[in-house]
Symmetry: C2
Subunit: 315 residues, 2 copies
């Protein structure tokens, strides 16, 4: 039996539907019934129920956006660092393999290949890097699982949210039998407050940048496949291979959904942060070589994007 | 056998000498030999060695002062929140009773009795409150263990250090069989960088405020007494009963040690924070009723102060 924590959240509900689709024996544990955030309670549940696997899809993302985490530091730390450490330690004590939904938002920027050398660039809103992305996207590469996070409490500036996610990875990596699954900017065909494609349509102005992103159903399928394939435990970047610019996403939205509104872009990083955002945002490209090498099949980002907009279901 | 973590720190070494003095069977675990910050390693040690009690005197305080914690958020969180949670969970899994050195610096101010009602006041540098402290000290009361911390991530502003200490108490309180011992501003007769009486002598200007403080040897004795008396597990304020003003401490230093220098005071909270400090400082009064009611004997603060200055040992 698979134990699912955080089943009512945006990612947790996708795990629940995929597990149902696969006919898997799983139990969504609810905090109303069992306060599994308490170590002793969780450990007792694990010893009692002896799950074959546990999924932690709970986390604290901040509402309406990541700026809210700056004002709720205790809850952000509790949800994103202390609680996952509790799960890791309860699973280690009980010998239960498990997977944790982490985030790729612990990186900033991408690697740019110049004369055969990879150089990290953080601000892709400059004209030179915009042109590079446009003209030779193959020279833009993602961060791998062995790259040390560069958007964390150890490599400032970062958002408080990202700091807690990076610190969590430090705290749980290598403990017991565990997967760290890095999600980035979830999207799919279901219009809603957490869907990246909905957010882009609702921003007053759009922040153009480069990002790897994760189709929600593709993400949970890939996570479960890693476990079913018995891929080695450890950290995996779980995004649709490739990356997108926000400008390109807007073009696709205009072509496919033909919204009445016009889209404007922030002129620069500087304008965006001065006017619209309080805390730094992570924009980054991820490398999915390790995920694919493990034998996981996942659509390229362009295909997942096209399919989501083709089957778009307005709220 | 008692297992001691953090034995080489300022408080840890005092635990070690008091345990030696008592002829107790104890083992100071060193991180060089065993990386006890890793849950699985610590749990194995507990199962192997079966200590009767464990003391966690490790922590991250920031050097030269608490401002350093603002720049080292990951280490501060790791040392003060994640690591103690690891100890708590390992002890709970192995059924080992233990004690944690926490801090009273999760409160700000004191309670002032006005018309029989207690009101929390935070800034004791104002002339009205200075006069009150001077003329009717009996109307100033401390925070008890049931008061919710008012200098924490949940009650801003706070220092990052204090935020991590308060969050730690939330994470470990009520788990297993544990004491949370709240230390405040350690001092004793041994001149040194961590001794409050040394710090006061080395500040360019002194920040006048009201504080409960803990004589270092008195503190560790009281902590061990709680365990030896088998006092109920839980949180205890472990300071010398009463409180002091920095101005009074300076007077005592002048009388007893007759230093060549003159002492100047910051004019106000505002001047202190503008010129000398980056992050807010906790200044507060603690109530020790619970500690004394448990049967622990500890000298009043005035007596401990006088004795430290009488037996002063310059570095």
């Amino acid at each position: 039996m698979i134990l699912l924590l955080g089943a009512t959240g945006y990612i947790g509900e996708a795990f629940a539907s995929e597990l149902r689709r696969r006919g898997a024996d799983f139990l969504p544990l609810s905090r109303g019934q069992v306060d599994y955030t308490r170590f002793e309670v969780l450990l007792e549940q694990l010893r009692l129920r002896k799950p074959s696997f546990l999924i932690n899809a709970a986390g604290y993302t901040g509402k309406p956006n990541v700026d809210a985490c700056e004002a709720h530091k205790a809850d952000t730390l509790q949800g994103n660092t202390l609680f996952p450490q509790t799960v890791a330690q309860a699973c280690a004590a009980a010998g239960i393999p498990w997977g944790h939904v982490s985030s790729g938002c612990i990186y900033s920027g991408a690697k740019v290949i110049v004369n055969g050398q990879a150089r990290v660039e953080k601000d892709f809103t400059t004209p030179a890097l915009r042109a590079l992305v446009e003209k030779s996207p193959e020279s833009v590469r993602g961060f791998t699982e062995t790259d040390v996070p560069n958007f964390s409490f150890r490599d400032l500036p970062c958002s408080f949210y990202s700091g807690t996610k990076a610190l969590c990875e430090e705290a749980i990596a290598g403990m017991g039998q565990s997967y760290i699954w890095r999600l980035r900017i979830p999207f799919d065909e279901y219009d809603g407050a957490r869907n990246y494609l909905s957010k882009v349509q609702r921003y007053s102005k759009v922040y153009d940048n480069v990002n790897s992103i994760s189709h929600r159903a593709d993400f949970v399928k890939a996570c479960l496949d890693l476990w079913e394939l018995r891929a080695p435990y450890g950290t995996y970047n779980v995004t649709n291979p490739g990356f997108v610019t926000t400008r390109h996403v807007v073009e696709l939205i205009q072509q496919r959904l033909k919204p009445a509104r016009k889209f404007e872009f922030w002129a620069s990083d500087e304008e965006f942060y001065r006017v619209a955002a309080q805390t730094p945002r992570s924009n980054c490209v991820m490398d999915t070589t390790k995920l694919l090498a493990a034998g996981v099949k996942i659509r390229p980002v362009e295909e997942a994007l096209e399919a989501s907009l083709k089957h778009w279901k307005p709220e």
